[in-house]
Symmetry: C2
Subunit: 101 residues, 2 copies
């Protein structure tokens, strides 16, 4: 920020960019859940367990490295992906239960 | 999935797409934190409070609508954005403390 910029205007502009990124994040999450729904249905058809610890560990390692390269706190990246995975597991368990009843 | 597709191959392909989306999500989050760091510094310079409940409520309303349009559970979208905002507030409080000491 240069000295002659109005801070209110700078804040407004930063917030607009944050809003654009948030919209992109939500749309990518929507797409991710469409894919994991397909994975859930596939697991139901073939009686596979809802979670897969080996794959989770690999995903977390890869995303931690990617975060570090992008100057994002790797612990936050891990917390984020665990938050998403936990939601997916809840969805898969619901799909499995709907098959059992 | 058609009958003649190998389910292992289908699962592999879905997981590759999920991994690509996760990489995109982490990179967008990295960019979002670069912007909120700038917001934090601006708030520090002008002694503004770390959180802004009015803006948060507007962001959540907008993202819930966007999620619903994209067939993503609006409650999950809200949980996600609150998770990100909580992390940002922790960052801003650290920036503020570093100014106080």
């Amino acid at each position: 920020m240069t000295q002659d910029q109005d801070p209110t205007e700078v804040l407004r502009s930063l917030r607009q960019s944050i809003d654009n990124l948030d919209a992109s994040l939500v749309l990518l999450l929507a797409e991710r859940f469409k894919l994991t729904k397909q994975v859930g249905n596939l697991k139901k058809e073939h009686a596979l367990p809802p979670s897969d610890k080996g794959r989770e560990a690999d995903m977390i390692d890869r995303l931690r490295r990617l975060a570090a390269d992008a100057q994002l706190d790797p612990d936050f990246a891990e917390k984020f992906i665990r938050f998403v995975i936990d939601e997916v597991i809840r969805h898969h368990e619901r799909i499995k239960q709907s098959a059992d009843t």
